[in-house]
Symmetry: C2
Subunit: 442 residues, 2 copies
């Protein structure tokens, strides 16, 4: 445990210095252990495990682009993302791990206690045992705080999801090298630092129950669910896996697969050398987005019973979003979630300009986070929460809804309702004191 | 409105007498408007709408039968099941409809205010407008009580679901011929009658909020969700649509498709003549189960804070169930749900004997209901709730869990968590006073 946050940074610096880590780009066609099907093009590992990269055609009944084809990561098995919780002096502490991942811009980030695919923890690749796994597999000791299958990026993964777990224990827990206990306040402080709290930690922490646990009124509850149900009915999503070689609009070279307009992302290869993971080196394909994205909630305070806005419930403008890999037509997403360069100037997503032009005084949060560093290469998003003025409309179209933050957390307790980008922002809301206007570091 | 329930029965008798209705079996290969693909065998309507009957292979990683092939109904579009609610003298009344359906044993049953597939209400087949539809389609008046996509029988339908809606209005509602207002108490009384409240009414009513609205403690909440999540992880479900002609173990004649052991169900054809529906007659294929099934909850009272069992929360022994058409690996199902004749004597489902041998004094509910009469022919289940003795075990294996009835209702507010058979029993729990031991009619 760290008395001062400076002590944490000293510890993290030691972690970063004590391990060597090297990631080099490598031609997609020369990755050890990986091969492409000679006719279909599908990229697979020789063991048949881990994941594959295949082609997908997508048809949706809405939006400016109603159908397209793209490469996509297919990873049918789900893993465990688990954080161990223990109270010291009554204060919950979270056991996090300083972990290197090949796709990270800042190589070492704070990951969950356990972050393991099924291939990892069943040790298909013959690595070391996953530490602390026993706390998250039956028969478990400890009290389950949360345990739910949650989706990951639908733009890049087909139906991928991981089990998000929070387990509270009371007995002694040995702290292994590379692990540390942090309080919620400390995590909140570290969340203001770019690229430090990794995606898996953020999604798990988004499920840590709020002490408020205010239940929404039955009416609001039903109205929010109805909005979500109606979107599922209004939209369609048809998909078909196709050979990677038949994905139209994408160009394949021995080095990489890229979109013909240099938009969206590329499929690249990397060679990893590392000395503190289960294995010491490997090759793998990765998805590399073309640019940093924007993920933002517009926020407002609902008028309180007293009639003033300052102490009312925080409300977020949520939208329904359909992506290539979404399991069930739509999920609830942030107000804005996009890579701006993917859109022509006359087709910018709604509210993007509003978010980008907001003065600092309205930005309750403004920080850059990495997405999952095990499959995604230098995938960063700028995460913002932007307060709107009183003149902002109540109704922003059928795809949008002002929703109490607590109601959104309620949806988050069930899987496949709230997407991973929204859950990242919810973790910030849960662990940061956002009432400090302009209190972020930018 | 009916002052006495006898008045309702008089009204229903009039409804039954005032309409002619005839259903005859017809050879599958001679249904007007329907044809089979010459090579694949798939049965489709000439319009391409409504539904089709196709083949499916199913692989599961558990249970005595781990893989099989079967015919299945494919109905990608979902419809609206909506019940209008209005308070008269402060008491909620529900607008139900006396509706004939071709598959019903008792032809006229009480259906929701609106029970319409998308083909129905968009009038693909050129029928009459669907009455009261405007209350359930945007822009709506009234207050949304519930609105969620719910699954239907996974044994017979692939991913079928319908939108379950309850809308409360305050203004005048004209009562059209064939419709009536019933109170919750009256519906409870009618639920004790065999084959009167249809499946669609039951599933919609299961979502009517309990006045208790007791929220489960966060710990119980997480434990129940964890059990459900773990089952999704433990089990696998792989499926592939195949040509109906290639379904192994099933025999096709010009008349019907049946299993070689005469188990499960047959696909048959019917010719319908009717004078009060959107159209006056049609042919269609239907699924006809081989025998009446058993659907049952084992139930107990949790010890209350005062230490006595009589006033504790009602708990139900729920199980996770994987069926051919289940959208997401498992759903929460009743303790027992089976057609006994489908099993060899040495492989009977758990607790079936317990349910069937329970004395009348332990049967809190015992009634026969029809399943959906638009696609299923004479599909009946005997629905039971059976109280267990004090010596019944707390732990009944990893696929079972004792769950507070209120917690189960919480899962029911989200789609694809609780299956349609369990929701039928939940509707009984919601509308019947089950504290009257042995108060049912058998």
């Amino acid at each position: 445990m760290f008395q001062r946050i400076e002590d944490f940074h000293d510890w993290l610096g030691e972690q970063e210095r004590s391990h060597s880590f090297r990631v080099r780009l490598a031609p997609l066609d020369e990755l050890a252990g990986w091969s492409s099907h000679p006719e279909l093009g599908t990229i697979r590992h020789s063991s048949g495990r881990f994941f594959s990269i295949d082609g997908l055609t997508v048809g949706t009944g809405h939006g400016p682009t109603r159908s397209w084809a793209q490469p996509i990561i297919v990873q049918p098995e789900s893993g465990i993302l688990g954080i161990l919780v223990k109270r010291f002096g009554g204060v919950p502490h979270f056991l996090l791990q300083a972990k290197m991942e090949p796709g990270n811009v800042r190589p070492v980030q704070l990951s969950p206690t356990v972050q393991a695919t099924r291939s990892n923890y069943t040790r298909v690749h013959g690595g070391k045992p996953v530490p602390y796994l026993e706390y998250f597999q039956a028969p478990r000791q400890g009290r389950m705080i949360a345990d739910v299958l949650q989706s990951e990026q639908g733009s890049w993964f087909l139906h991928k999801r991981n089990r998000n777990m929070l387990v509270e224990v009371t007995g002694d827990v040995p702290v292994l090298p590379g692990f540390c206990w942090l309080t919620g306040d400390q995590i909140g402080e570290l969340m203001l630092i770019d690229n430090l709290i990794n995606m898996d930690t953020r999604t798990v922490l988004s499920g840590f129950p709020s002490p408020k646990r205010q239940e929404p009124s039955p009416g609001d509850d039903a109205a929010a669910m109805s909005w979500f149900t109606e979107a599922k009915e209004r939209r369609t999503l048809t998909r078909k896996q196709i050979p990677l070689n038949e994905v139209k609009g994408w160009l394949r070279s021995p080095e990489r697969i890229s979109h013909e307009l240099d938009r969206y992302f590329s499929v690249i290869g990397v060679t990893v050398e590392i000395d503190n993971r289960e294995v010491t080196g490997w090759d793998q394909p990765m998805i590399a987005p073309c640019e940093r994205g924007i993920v933002a909630f517009l926020a407002r305070r609902a008028p309180s019973a007293g009639g003033t806005q300052d102490d009312g419930e925080l409300q977020l403008l949520v939208q329904v979003e359909t992506q290539a890999g979404t399991l069930d037509v739509v999920e609830i997403a942030p107000t804005v979630q996009c890579a701006p360069g993917n859109y022509d100037a006359d087709r910018k997503p709604p509210f993007l300009d509003h978010v980008l032009s907001a003065p600092a005084s309205r930005r309750l949060l403004d920080v850059v986070y990495s997405e999952e560093g095990g499959r995604l290469y230098h995938a960063e998003n700028r995460y913002l929460i932007v307060e709107v003025g009183d003149d902002f409309p109540d109704h922003a179209g059928e795809d949008f809804l002002w929703m109490d933050a607590e109601r959104l957390a309620g949806f988050g307790h069930y899987g496949n309702h709230v997407n991973v980008e929204a859950r990242s922002l919810m973790a910030c809301l849960r662990f940061l004191d956002l009432s400090r206007k302009g209190g972020t570091r930018r």
